[in-house]
């Protein structure tokens, strides 16, 4: 009796009981089920939802690993900076080190564990109550959540937010595939509006910056974007640092290089929509160009509080903040995005466009990507509606030509 037949017998034992979905979730994690086709096609392609979701998770892993090291690196860099030492980032010199890893793992891994633990418990409970299988959607959400929050977010806040996000963002609509808003961003939005002091400002982005505030050991926890919004910048950071990600920010969103790698994986495997990714970037660049034009035309002076971010060369908007992370991993969520190919172009463009607009015009909280995506989530069905109407009108026209 191997594991396979033992599990099969257990499955038959649980069949029809309340616990069946919980057992099947674990069983199907180990084994592709023995289900065969009935009615319809007799053969099926190799892909299932687990495989699709798994690809997204694999595309996120580099960002997570980088985020762990970066959490430690930023912590020590900020301590150095408080002493007046400006660090020069070097990958093997002072980035991939045990010290960084220990601090990073100590702060980031609990976020991952809480996110998955709480989220999956909610998923299992709902699956058992409603009697459907445990769906894979949360595997990706649970990975995204730790990557889009500040390192020092208290774990209980994260737990509350995850429960809210999964229940209100997804389960009340009927589970994976039925939700209107991106669940990971719903969680982030909840955190942002419920606990704003932990989600924005100049303290939260570096480990221990909050605890040390006001003491002699105070360190800065500011992000680049926050600095720009106040018409200043951060010391010792050049464009390459921004691109490689040696800057403070949410856990997983800083390394543009690894996000591009993730995008390459998603596009190559055809799991993520390249249309959304490309059009989001085009939208962001377009808005950036418009603002540059406004500055060049002299409509806005250096005294303006918008000057700092408006004056950022348009292409730099892509390497600061989380626009790239949002475009690659968040906007491409197929459930909450537009579902037609034409709609995806419009949807992505507007996300990029609005993201940069919010970034520039909202100095209190200069990252607008998640709000832009949530806004467009709401409008995605409207975009689709008009795209589909195009097809419907074509059909109507054909009929009229015939009858005329």
């Amino acid at each position: 009796m191997g594991l396979k037949s033992n599990l099969h017998n257990l499955k038959l034992k649980y069949q029809g009981t309340k616990m069946a979905p919980a057992f099947n979730a674990i069983h199907t994690f180990l084994y592709l089920p023995n289900e065969t086709t009935h009615g319809g096609t007799h053969i099926k392609a190799a892909d299932d939802l687990k495989r699709t979701m798994n690809i997204v998770i694999m595309a996120l892993v580099p960002c997570l690993l980088f985020g762990i090291f970066n959490a430690g690196y930023q912590h020590y860099a900020a301590i150095d900076a408080a002493k007046g030492v400006i660090r020069e980032a070097s990958l093997f010199g002072n980035f991939i080190t045990w010290d960084n890893f220990i601090v990073g793992a100590w702060t980031v891994l609990p976020l991952v564990i809480v996110s998955y633990g709480v989220g999956l418990i909610v998923e299992f409970i709902f699956a058992i109550i409603k009697g459907h299988e445990v769906e894979e959607g949360y595997l990706v959400t649970g990975m995204l959540v730790p990557l889009i929050v500040p390192v020092d977010i208290p774990l209980w806040m994260l737990a509350v937010a995850v429960i809210f996000g999964v229940v209100i963002g997804k389960e009340v609509f009927g589970g994976t595939g039925m939700n209107i808003l991106n669940p990971a961003l719903t969680i982030r939005a909840f955190l942002f509006f419920a606990y704003p002091t932990w989600m924005s400002g100049d303290k939260v982005w570096v480990h221990e910056a909050v605890e040390r505030a006001g003491t002699a050991d105070a360190i800065s926890g500011e992000t680049l974007l926050g600095a720009y919004a106040q018409n200043s910048s951060l010391a010792g950071i050049d464009y390459m640092d921004m691109f490689f990600g040696f800057i403070p920010g949410s856990v997983g969103e800083t390394s543009k290089l690894l996000i591009i790698l993730g995008a390459a994986i998603l596009i190559f495997t055809k799991v993520g929509s390249w249309r959304i990714i490309v059009s989001t970037l085009i939208g962001a660049l377009a808005m950036g160009l418009i603002f540059n034009g406004v500055v060049d035309a002299g409509w806005i002076g250096e005294s303006s509080k918008f000057y700092g971010l408006m004056n950022v060369p348009f292409w730099q908007h892509l390497i600061i903040g989380s626009i790239l992370f949002g475009a690659v991993y968040m906007a491409t969520d197929p459930v909450s995005a537009s579902q037609t190919n034409k709609g995806k172009w419009i949807y992505g463009f507007l996300i990029g466009f609005i993201s940069i607009m919010i970034r520039v015009f909202n100095p209190a909280y200069p990252e607008g990507v998640f709000l832009a995506i949530l806004l467009m989530n709401v409008f995605a069905p409207t975009i689709d509606h008009y795209v589909v109407q195009g097809n419907v009108k074509k059909r109507m026209k054909r009929l009229k030509v015939k009858t005329a």
Partner: protein, 450 residues
Amino acid sequence: MSNDIKISKGLDIKLVGQAEKKTDTAIISNFYTVRPEDFHLVTPKLVVKVGNKVKAGSTLFYNKENESVKFASPVSGEVVEIERGEKRRVLAIKIKADKTQEFEEFGALAASADADAVKSRLLESGAWAFVKQRPYDVIANPEVQPKSIFVSAYASAPLAADLDYTLAGKEEELQAAVSALAKLTAGKVHVSVGKNSNSPLSNLSDITLHKVSGPHPSGNVGTQINKIDPINKGETVWTVSAQDLVIIGELLLTGKFNAERIIAFAGSSVKSPRYFKTKIGAEVSTMVYDNGVEQDGNDRIISGNVLSGKQVKPDGCLDYYSNIITVIPEGDDYEFFGWNKPIFNKISTSRALTFSWLMPNKKFDLNTNTNGEHRAFVTTGNYEEVFPLDIFPLQILKACKYQDLDEMEALGMYEVAPEDFALTEFICVSKQPHQNIIREGLDLMYKEIG
């Protein structure tokens, strides 16, 4: 005049077990079975009883809703069993065949016969069952004149019988059939053949010839209708499959309903895949065990192709419309970490650690495993890659699921048949039953709109 149709969206599913081009005569089947469920939405009204003698072409039953549409026995013999299900619904009519076949004599029909004569001949002989209509993908209503008639003589489905081969030498019958059908429509008879094929249909007269190329579903008549002359609301199009034209043609020429057809016997479980000459309703056991599949093999026998065919038991029969029997292994086994390990031996349109894109010419040995569990619709944009019709597939499927008749109509429900959604069902990540969803949607529309 020849018009080319080139399809770019689609997917050729290459499978092991293509039938070799040689024809065996199947062991003569003792019993033949006609299953009314082959004729969708037909309520059978029986005219035979157990013990009755019938000839080939004798009416077994007619459609209760439209009594002129009759259904014929494929052979002469004695009705031995009428199998009934719930509410005494007729499931199957089993006929024990005579040693020497007798045919109902309908008399040859002159080539100059008018439309009414052709129509009544097809109706009284039961050959009308081969004429299907869209919308709804059901047997055509003889009272409605179609705007055009479509015949696809190009088979692009996986392992499909090569129609150039099975119909070779039948030019005379085919010509008689299309000439007669041409009288029944005010429009044209559109015949599609493969671009590089040597089809016996390409030199017929009274037709408009189209040459199609591209991946499956380029050979589906639904694809061709959509590209040539799409159906609008209120219009009707008839479709006849090419192999059934032979039966119609022979009926018109000789006055006999001869249900003989050459079918492919294919699939990876078959030792020696080849063609058989057999008759509609024949027991599949007469074919599958002779140098075919193992007696106790764990296989699925399909009357039809792997995408749209019907599962039959070894004692089942060839259905009324199929020209292929496919046998593939059952996939009722677990696969350790089957959802995340790299996969080389299954087809996929993605590259999500699936590597079929590296081997475009490899022939795959697929089984009936679903490769995953049923989920809600999640991914988007992948159906469009294999769906050549100018219709939004995901949106129309969802409209069917929430039964919004207006939306179904606006999105093009009149143009589709379940088989058009076979490929999207094959690649569906959420393992949704697309063909059933469309069938139920069509049935609902038929009931509500008619």
